[in-house]
Symmetry: C2
Subunit: 437 residues, 2 copies
């Protein structure tokens, strides 16, 4: 007999079926015994009465791989609305050790339990709640790709082994590369800009590395960035692109991943079609007035300010996502564009969503001579360094006005689902304390 | 006036249009002057007669960013079947240096010119022939994803920073990780197998690292692997999946990327719906008989044998792709499954396509005790090492029969287009001699 999936059992009511999967749960009550089998489509209940069949499961633990042949019945109280009765059970792979972590009940995500969660990740992921996070992640990733394709963006693959630390700073992993030093990419920044000169509109969904020396709820040493760059674009067009991208991804995921989102009681975000825009000065002012903590004049937002302004935007502006603009030019990176009307500001934005920054972007300085000048002043960089000279080449031979952003995939998924720590939305998280599994 | 793309000029014949892009080619003939403008959609010709307008381009080189307003005319001899006449020209970004590499003519891909090609990659990619390679790469990647989604595979993201060299061997990059040693992933092998325990059918399109100390036409230090793994599968089902995947990708690409493929005179591969299967012994025998070079009894295929058998399969079996099976168990990795009927063989295959191996796969040993045994014997590995113990955990708690493969994205694209060196199909290739751009 051919294998069918758990979700198809209901369609075969009244017929013989064969399912295969993992023993997910077992309740042996003597006369009436309930098994739950998990396969890639979900769960199906099996009711066994024949003692000889049940005997085969003696000592068998959750995870045992089984083939079940039996008769399918409609059963509204069972998962999927069906169950299999009078099963013939075959133990394909026996498991005799008890799972180190619950598989059939939600796992604790309390801060103090996260280490146990990650230590047992390999098995814990078999839990449907954990699976749901990564089904949503895959769905978000696919929705992002499809939206960007619809806007004429081309996907590319850039190397992560680089000759130097392009963004500067100490948080860079270094490695020996046949006797030379290489670094791991802290971003695809230079490549995505170079690729604007080729395809105008480009993106990459790629791993990114930061030798972040502190363990926080917001940082990891390896994470996935959605890098997007758009040529012949203006600052408002960039904000518009990102508003549309998030709206599109959220709509797709709530359409296609409803069951997964329900397992986390995820609430569909309230979003405007164009996210509201607040300047940093406005936020400082509002926050200071409301909380009594004076941040006016500060050159960045405090984490608490990010949370506060998101609450404010949700309540007062009808949007759980909000752009922050007018970042001080003094703090800008050398490739950021300074606002020509207001030279004290860079044409940069952060996108805050549900209390945290999920994307940061800017217009880029596209004029070769100005860029060379900013490189020297801001980064202390030498145009002839391998880490810069190929990047600069793109500008020497003509780059249009352009801008882009990097968005953290795990942060977006964390906030879509309503998790508290970025690592919960990461399959196998990496931080200063964790390099395995 | 709103910008339109070069490809849309023909639809606006008789109307005023505005295009923006890079100066791709310039022929100033005095009275009649021809410009070609490049944007993300392709090329459009501009015919300028007004001396004052043409004067603006004095000293302007290829790459200059221009805005052109003028009247659209049908012109069958021009690219896209249209041209713009009586232009008003605005120089948005001037380029006064001559490009170090041709942009409007095909670039040489002769082995002796590849270094020049890669050194000037940033600008050379603006050449339409070079662009075409990476448009095809993006199309192949998307076709692969969509085929795997259609077969119920879930995409995942695994870390590239690992605690140890999982596949063993010297070709591993090592780095300092906060005082500990980390390595860069040589493959997603362990993670994709672990994920079979979660989603049954999984894949990842991911960067892969090999500290390959020789510069060849087939190897790089960083490349993209399509990692696929399927639970509750048999060896024939695995071959079938890969046959279908390649057939589907080739069909999609020839449907959607025809123009790009034409630029390289790419010939659609002749493929069977199920690729023919030859054992290694059969290939050795045929090759030895045909060439007089005796390889009978050898435990691998020589590169020349791979080329020869592909020619043979194309001519005699009607397929440019061919599976090689019955690999000696003595050479197998510890996670490979030994053929129970013929214990001298591993249930492994290579897929050869147009003369080169583009994928390698196998059934995996899924029984915990046998795997532990093979780990000790084959890899000399300790089950409690961080590099192994999490992997083994998946098996301790139940893994079904499964198998999978890794396919090199750049190799597949190289062979689809008909290039001679894997690096030609790589945006910014990395080998022992090249770490930039």
């Amino acid at each position: 007999m051919e294998r069918i999936l758990s979700s198809d059992v209901v369609k075969h009511a009244g017929k013989d079926v064969l399912v295969q999967g993992w023993l997910h749960k077992k309740r042996l009550l003597g006369g009436l015994n309930f098994l739950v089998i998990r396969d890639r489509a979900g769960l199906v209940q099996v009711v066994a009465e024949d003692e000889a069949e049940v005997e085969k499961l003696r000592g068998m633990q959750v995870g045992t791989v089984l083939t079940i042949e039996g008769q399918a019945f409609e059963e509204p109280r069972a998962p999927g609305g069906a169950e299999i009765r009078q099963p013939k059970i075959t133990v394909d792979v026996s498991v005799t050790d008890e799972s180190p972590i619950e598989i059939d009940k939600p796992l604790s995500h309390k801060p103090e339990n996260l280490d146990t969660l990650f230590e047992n990740r390999v098995i814990g992921l078999r839990n449907l709640q954990e699976q749901a996070i990564f089904k949503v992640q895959a769905a978000v990733e696919e929705a992002i790709r499809q939206y960007l394709f619809s806007q004429d963006f081309t996907e590319f693959n850039s190397p992560k082994l680089l000759p130097g630390a392009t963004e500067g700073g100490a948080e860079v992993f270094k490695l020996d590369y046949f006797g030379k030093q290489a670094t791991l990419a802290q971003s695809a920044q230079f490549y995505k800009q170079i690729m604007v000169g080729v395809f105008e509109r480009v993106f990459e969904v790629n791993p990114t590395y930061r030798a972040e020396p502190s363990a926080t709820t917001r940082h990891m040493t390896e994470f996935i960035t959605v890098d997007v760059e758009m040529g012949f674009a203006t600052f408002p067009e960039l904000l518009n692109l990102l508003s549309n991208l998030i709206n599109s991804a959220v709509a797709e995921v709530w359409k296609n991943s409803e069951n997964q989102l329900k397992l986390w009681d995820a609430k569909q975000p309230v979003l405007k079609s164009e996210f509201p825009v607040l300047t940093m000065a406005e936020i400082h002012e509002k926050y200071s007035k409301a909380t009594g903590t004076n941040t006016v004049g500060e050159k960045d937002l405090r984490p608490d300010e990010e949370r506060w302004i998101c609450d404010y935007a949700a309540k007062e502006l009808g949007s759980e996502a909000v752009f922050v603009t007018e970042w001080p030019a003094s703090e800008a990176k050398f490739y950021h564009k300074v606002d020509e009307q207001n030279p004290e500001f860079a044409e940069r934005f952060d996108l805050l969503f549900r209390g945290v920054e999920i994307a940061t972007g800017s217009m880029r300085e596209h004029r070769y001579d100005v860029l060379i000048d900013q490189l020297a002043k801001k980064a202390g960089g030498q145009p002839e360094d391998d880490g810069f000279r190929y990047f600069l080449m793109a500008f020497k031979y003509g780059m249009p006005p352009h801008g882009g952003f990097g968005m953290g995939l795990e942060r977006l998924v964390e906030k879509i689902i309503g998790l508290a720590n970025i690592k919960e939305a990461t399959l196998f998280p990496r931080d200063i304390n964790r390099l395995a599994p």
